[in-house]
């Protein structure tokens, strides 16, 4: 695009369309890379916790979950540094980042709450705290985040996958009664695969 040539009306509109679309697609593709990263991490960590929990019978391996965001943020920073050209934000990338950051904050907050009050066994009002099951709550939050992501990138497969993970995961939890058990981790493996698939779909869009 070296020539500053004058364009016909049709050429101008075609140029606007092409430029806008190329830019939008490239930025959205970059968001897909990070979804893929978190999907792979979620799959690996859920399998790791499942195997260790199952082998030892001790639920303390769940503390490994707190290592995942640390590795994730370091890996994301590394991927970002590898970019030769800094990508700007558009509406879709901002919405996706907002959705998953919100999910992260909610998930970590709920996890911390559960750990603190499950150990204390009484809440600040002095009544006995009932056991809080983390797995269905996180799955529901995850499913909502995934569904809204699907709506944002206008992809029906992602939207349906989010619904299946959230609502389907919740139903499976109650039907199998495996909440809080090692087997429940496999639902997170499913969620991780769905998230990684979302990243791939967004990347190839």
């Amino acid at each position: 695009m070296e020539q500053n040539k004058e364009l016909s009306a049709r050429e101008s509109l075609a140029l606007i369309n092409e430029t806008l679309n190329n830019s939008r697609q490239e930025i959205t593709r970059r968001s897909g890379k990070y979804l893929l990263l978190w999907g792979i991490l979620l799959t690996v960590f859920s399998l790791l916790v499942f195997v260790l929990w199952k082998a030892t019978g001790k639920p303390y391996w769940n503390f490994l979950w707190f290592v995942m965001p640390v590795i994730g943020f370091i890996a994301a920073a590394f991927l970002n540094k590898k970019e030769t050209v800094e990508m700007p934000d558009n509406a879709v990338s901002r919405i996706l980042a907002g959705i998953w950051r919100t999910f992260g904050v909610f998930a970590v907050s709920v996890a911390l709450f559960t750990i603190i009050y499950s150990r204390a066994n009484v809440n600040p009002l002095g009544t006995v705290a009932s056991v809080v099951n983390l797995t269905p709550m996180i799955l529901l939050l995850f499913g909502m985040a995934e569904t809204v992501s699907g709506v944002a990138v206008r992809n029906r497969a992602i939207t349906v996958a989010g619904f299946l993970t959230g609502v389907g995961g919740l139903i499976v939890c109650y039907l199998l009664g495996s909440m809080g058990e090692a087997d429940g981790m496999l639902l997170f493996t499913f969620a991780g695969v769905i998230l990684a698939a979302t990243g791939l779909i967004v990347k190839r869009k």
Binding site: E2, N4, L7, S12, T19, N22, S23, E86, P88
Partner: protein, 96 residues
């Protein structure tokens, strides 16, 4: 009577720059260069013209030790861009 097309936008490179900036919060020089395929010199000249017209803001700064030029479209630029697109559509509709 057709509306007059904004001569500042009716140029391939400036129009491409405005189209990119209309869809993002801001973009740095290297991104614009990559997306348009323009040379640094030509792109700088066209960015200056758009900036002088008040269509974009150009902020020169540093990212670490590297110089970084960030461009963003202004409300006046978005307005001009919108009017330009409307005018183009009128031209095409009348031509049918």
């Amino acid at each position: 009577m057709f509306p007059k097309l904004d001569p500042l936008l009716h140029s391939e490179l400036r129009l491409a720059v405005m189209s990119i900036l209309a869809g993002v919060e801001s973009a740095d020089f290297t991104y614009l260069k990559k997306q348009t395929g323009a040379t640094s010199g030509n792109l700088s000249v066209q960015l200056d013209k758009l900036s002088s017209a008040g269509y974009i803001t150009v902020v020169k700064g540093f990212k670490g030790k590297m110089p970084c030029t960030t461009c963003a479209v202004t409300p006046a630029g978005l307005d001009a861009f919108g009017q330009y697109v409307t005018a183009l559509q009128e031209y095409l509709t009348a031509g049918k």
